[in-house]
């Protein structure tokens, strides 16, 4: 399932919780598509459960969460748990506003990659590839 061949990579990008900032998620979806990656967007106001269900149903290689409201510490680990509870091991990548002091705890909670504000397109694509290939730093 994990492969670094972009042609067969599938990514679910998701907005979880009440955060309506969707500029980043839409731009990232297009940038990933430009890199030849297949992208599915959940739309706004998802729960950890609906994201996990969509990820498993769609058999994606990576889940990308866009989080700008500060709820990442609560919601992102719940997404990881909900995916694992379904017996899947799909890596989760976060992009958005995540302060440095939260990075360690998020990694410990099983988040594969974290992209901060201003990450350029190639960095986003590389992070997704690393996550899919299972070569993210722990």
């Amino acid at each position: 399932m994990t492969t670094s061949d972009d042609q067969s990579l599938r990514v679910l990008v998701a907005k979880v919780g009440l955060d309506g900032h969707d500029r980043g998620v839409k731009v990232v979806a297009r940038l990933l598509r430009d890199a030849g990656i297949e992208v599915i967007y959940t739309g706004l106001f998802q729960t950890p459960e609906t994201v996990a269900a969509a990820a498993v149903d769609e058999d994606v290689d990576v889940v990308g969460l866009s989080m700008l409201s500060g709820a990442h510490m609560t919601l992102a680990p719940l997404v990881v748990q909900a995916i694992r509870a379904r017996g899947a091991d799909i890596p989760v990548v976060i992009g958005g506003i995540v302060p440095n002091h939260d990075l360690e705890e998020l990694k410990a909670a099983g988040i594969a990659e974290i992209l901060g504000p201003g990450a350029p397109a190639n960095e986003v694509v590389e992070a997704v590839r690393r996550a899919a290939a299972g070569t993210s730093k722990v």
Binding site: G17, L18, R23, K26, V27, R30, Y41, P99, G118
Partner: protein, 544 residues
């Protein structure tokens, strides 16, 4: 007919002037306005050069700092600090659950309570929020949209209990629901039902709260979501025209409510384009209100606006550099003639601001206001070949967009805005512009200092940012539980019953029922759910 200069002089002479020396540092005395006799003048139609004849010679802009986090008690403390350090208006940021009309104990609120703003569940929180603050003596801005009518009702109830009459309440409700569907995405009800609530608040405040600005028509979020400056200008004013048509449909004469509409624009980093945008906005508004909507009162035609510097222009890298970006953006707002200003804090690409960084943001405005002398002369860039040409171009680009919206609405801007939302037209254009801007950055055509170039220093540790713990969330849930325990349950049910009945009849204004429900300690979530039972809920079909 009197010429513009004479009209200006008359208005200027009638204005009270601040106690200040209007001269340069080397002592050159300054005129309040420069330009040819037959040119445009501030305070004179079409107001390109400013809504008022005397501009900052009479009154500096309001230094309005947006604040709110954690519980109402925490935010009340921040409010008092702002008032103490020279701010003169309060601006309330609500947390995501409140913005979405949910209570702190709703499962969807998990992790969001008190995080991006203050959590308000009931009148008890509203009382804590404004404790020991004289609501009749300051102005209060509330950034809230879908549940705007509910929060306005709670505010009115709190003022009532504090003995402040409605006529003395000054402030602004954002209440701009159209841009929620277009850009910010904090919607609850479907567009037409939401517009009924907007109508109710406009009618209520027009009748009872003469000092209250009922809608702050906001381009800020449209721009932050990725639009160009011209799109921000055009979509915002088109939404403004839609609200004018809405209120006219409700039978309000245009001059009865248009003076209480205000605007809220972004100040982005493209300095001159921003200034041209503000100038074009005033001219367009005056022309449309007069020609298309038949306004005759000057106040209806004078576009007044709040400005916030661009959050999206801030970088997480080398955050101190954001002070410089914010200062330049703030200066654009001032040279563009803003009536109030919020300056972002340097750490806002990382978190909510610390007290220190918020103070520096306020100091930035104070430097512009009190040290630079840019306030002495109105519209100092008017007459610049460059700025005038840009102003005309901004106006022309906006008019092209208005024509398209008018066409979508079959001759109605109100319908055009709703159809454009239903068809994802606004959302699509904003997403396209955001994507183009990002591509320009990725191609190396746009430089961002500290991000794409000049990276030395990025490896230094990030600054310490404000941390909000989940303890606030639990505190707020306990607070809500105890309010629910203490309230009279049957009074709550009666109030919600009446709200549901009133909601069924589109002719009834919902504000009185909402004020009564607030007094009974009904929660924001209960009132919103009651209305959703009648109105339904909006679901966006996602597009990328």
């Amino acid at each position: 007919m009197t010429n513009p200069r004479e009209l200006w002089q008359e208005a200027f002479d009638a204005s009270s002037i601040r106690n200040d020396k209007f001269q340069t540092m080397s002592g050159i005395p300054l005129e309040p306005i420069y330009g040819p006799e037959d040119g445009e003048f501030p305070g004179v139609y079409p107001y390109t050069r400013g809504p008022y004849a005397s501009m900052y010679r009479s009154k500096l802009w309001t230094m309005r700092l947006f604040a709110g986090f954690g519980t109402a008690i925490d935010t009340n403390q921040r409010f008092k600090d702002i008032l103490k350090s020279g701010g003169d208006g309060l601006s309330t940021a609500f947390d995501m659950p409140t913005l979405m009309g949910l209570d702190s104990d709703d499962p969807m609120s998990l992790g969001e309570v008190g995080r991006c703003g203050v959590a308000i569940d009931t009148l008890a929180d509203m009382r804590d929020l404004f404790a020991d603050i004289d609501l009749g003596g300051i102005t209060t801005s509330m950034t809230i949209n879908s549940p705007a009518a509910v929060l306005l009702a709670m505010f009115v109830a709190q003022a009532e209990n504090a003995g402040v009459p409605r006529v003395k309440l000054g402030g602004t409700l954002q209440n701009d629901i159209l841009k929620e569907y277009q850009a910010q995405k904090e919607f609850v009800f479907p567009p037409r039902q939401s517009m009924r609530l907007v109508r109710d608040t406009v009618a209520f405040t027009a009748a009872e709260m003469p000092r209250w600005n009922s809608i702050s028509i906001s381009g800020y979020h449209i721009r932050e979501a990725g639009s160009t400056a011209a799109e921000e200008l055009a979509f915002t004013l088109a939404n403004g025209f839609a609200y004018v048509e809405l209120a006219r449909q409700a039978g309000l004469p245009v001059d009865a409510f248009a003076p209480r509409l205000s605007f809220f624009f972004n100040a982005h980093i493209d300095f001159f384009e921003e200034i041209a945008k503000y100038r074009a906005a005033r001219r367009i508004w005056a022309r449309w209100l007069s020609k298309r909507y038949g306004a005759t009162s000057e106040r209806s035609m004078q576009l007044r606006f709040h400005t916030q510097t661009a959050g999206v222009s801030l970088t997480a890298q080398q955050p101190e550099v954001n002070i410089v970006r914010t200062a330049i953006e703030a200066l654009a707002g001032v040279l563009g003639g803003t009536q109030s200003l919020h300056t972002n804090s340097m750490d806002e690409a990382l978190a909510l601001p610390t007290e220190r960084s918020a103070r520096i943001a306020l100091r930035t405005q104070q430097v512009i206001a009190h040290e630079t002398n840019v306030t002495h002369v109105a519209d100092p860039l008017g007459g610049s070949y460059y700025v005038e040409a840009l102003t005309d171009q901004m106006e022309q680009m906006a008019e092209e967009i208005f024509a398209k919206i008018d066409e979508m609405g079959g001759g109605s801007m109100l319908e055009g805005c709703i159809v454009g939302i239903d068809e994802n037209w606004f959302q699509g254009r904003i997403a396209d512009s955001a994507y183009e801007l990002e591509r320009a950055f990725n191609r190396g055509e746009r430089t961002i200092v500290g991000v794409s170039k000049f990276l030395e220093g990025n490896e230094e540790d990030q600054m310490e940012t404000l941390r909000i713990t989940n303890a606030d969330e639990q505190k707020q849930r306990q607070r809500l539980a105890s309010v629910k325990q203490d309230r009279n349950e049957s009074a709550v049910l009666d109030a919600l019953d009446r709200l549901a009945k009133d909601a069924v009849d589109p002719e009834v204004n919902l504000m009185p029922a909402l004020v009564d429900a607030s007094q009974a300690y009904a929660t924001v979530g209960e009132m919103m759910n009651t209305m959703a039972g009648v109105f339904g809920r909006h679901i966006e079909v996602p597009t990328i």
